[in-house]
Subunit: 379 residues, 2 copies
Amino acid sequence: MDRNSVGIVTPQKFTFGSLEDPMVLESGRTLGPVEIVYETYGQPNADRSNAILICHALSGNHHAAGYHDPHDPQTGWWDTMIGPGKAFDTNRYWMICANIIGGCKGSTGPVSIDPATGKPYGLTFPIVTIGDMVEAQKRLIDHLGITRLYSIAGGSMGGFQVLEWALRYPQMVRSAMCIASAARLSAQAIAFNSVGRSAITRDPEWREGAYDGKGPEHGLATARMVGHITYLSEMLLDTKFGRRLQSANRLSYNFTTEFAIEGYLDHKGSAFTQRFDANSYLYITKAMDYFDISRSYGPLKEAFVSVTARCLFVSYSSDWLFPTSQTKEMVRALLSNGKPVSFIEIDSPYGHDAFLVEVEKLSRIVSGFLSGVPQEVAA
Amino acid sequence: MDRNSVGIVTPQKFTFGSLEDPMVLESGRTLGPVEIVYETYGQPNADRSNAILICHALSGNHHAAGYHDPHDPQTGWWDTMIGPGKAFDTNRYWMICANIIGGCKGSTGPVSIDPATGKPYGLTFPIVTIGDMVEAQKRLIDHLGITRLYSIAGGSMGGFQVLEWALRYPQMVRSAMCIASAARLSAQAIAFNSVGRSAITRDPEWREGAYDGKGPEHGLATARMVGHITYLSEMLLDTKFGRRLQSANRLSYNFTTEFAIEGYLDHKGSAFTQRFDANSYLYITKAMDYFDISRSYGPLKEAFVSVTARCLFVSYSSDWLFPTSQTKEMVRALLSNGKPVSFIEIDSPYGHDAFLVEVEKLSRIVSGFLSGVPQEVAA
């Protein structure tokens, strides 16, 4: 185990609401009780002013750092960023990461048991939005006795949550880091999500969402394969795989998985079905498609008037799913409102995945940004 | 019916080879008899020196121009380019277009009856390559009494056939037009093809290729949806669909097809299953993945030494499936061999689909290029 690891962590649970007193969602439908599974790393200071909330992306979860099991080398998804002496320095900050509602890793979602029926929600689970996810996180943050977050950070869909927090609860967010994200998905990104959903719902094993057991594995694998293509840049695919064959150096002249890129995608697709729920994939991608700052808060320039957080935006040069142009649009809107905003496009061949991979470059930026967040005057 | 239409056309058939005297494929396997369905437009001149072969792309077929049925307004796929007074002027040229082997529109492919078993080939059909497709076309061209093609043209996978013709039978090709194509697929393009194949072969209705009747419609629809995203530019998707909803102006908060781009892809996917065979999709995409000039003929510069055709290359500024950089690579290789080569990148928002859509721009280029092909000295 790495010396700078947060070590063994144990997920915690927080429940709010009930059947009788549920959470009211953006759709008007209700959800309750709501369970949130989360992890914390580092320690709160006396006035709990050193808390940083990490928001995860589509296939992420609350396990952002450390280990669950000393015998399992698998670390949290941003372990390289979170720990003693790391960018999110747990010697200074109290880090929090929660599984989103609609997810499948412990927080209430379509795999949870509906208390009204005693059966899994499946497709009776209500559509949740990014706003609903943030609303649930807000309850957790209140529960933890935090009145103002020192910072909030997330990449991709995590960036959506960051933006939503900064707009919905400006007074609670001292600084915000929106990484490889956008104010809304492009039509092309919606298109890729919709193909993924279509692959799942066209799979006969999906059974209108009421599957039992393995479910629509083929559809989910296909959805994930499509996703993985969009997470990497064309350049990286050419460098890493090119036209290389998996094993033989002669063409097989049959339909076995043959090119290295085929083997990679096939593996990624199949592995995903072992760790993710297909209905959850539908709900989360739908939440992504629905997210649109302008629909909720008006044109970007107007929307950002209310932002008080010191903001950092990071994009990656080869990210074509969340291209730099979309980040610049937000930066411009903040600047035109006279808001303090930092922006950097990191040069990287890793495409959208860079926010998980290009740790060294991002670490320097994040730790610098965090150290520059103005201190609050003690009350 | 448009005055410049070639009018009603009737597909013709040509058969060569037999069980006893089959065609030997690149894989070493054999195929026979081989049936080729094709159409011609315009008339041959006395020495049949005015023939132009059109090569179709993945989902195309031999029906490139005119109508099959006076009551059906559906014209051939390049009808806007082929006809009296059009770019491929049927008052001057004798146009030929044949369905590729491996296809599903009449030429021998996986849906054909295997004479050895009396049943459809299905997955017992041998893998065919672009070289094999060209070999079959060569037999047709010989059969039609053509010793030298005035020109040959094709977009996308049609461009692969154009290149293969120019390399395999240089003496038979006076001029060649390679449009929105490449010397090989990129890793990303192979990745998209492989997701499409995976969606088909993971569909339980595929039954290892031995389906009867409708077959793996869901898998094929998913494959086509993925394809369609790659055929259009991000800019076009944003302009044409953006985040517009299909019908309602309020979010549905359910999983119905909601965004206009979703409806478009869903329709394209479903419609495709009505007109295309899933096994054929596997064979043709595999042929595309296998195509690689350098594998067959060595590094591009060496490969192109043997080319004698006057060449025209056309790419489209927003085509990200067959980007201009891949065309330029071929143009450079020809230029460095001192070959006469014309190249233009057409500015277009239509992405890869531009070769089917941006007719006006392409027409001027094609007709100009054809009129400039040097006359042969009469024997």
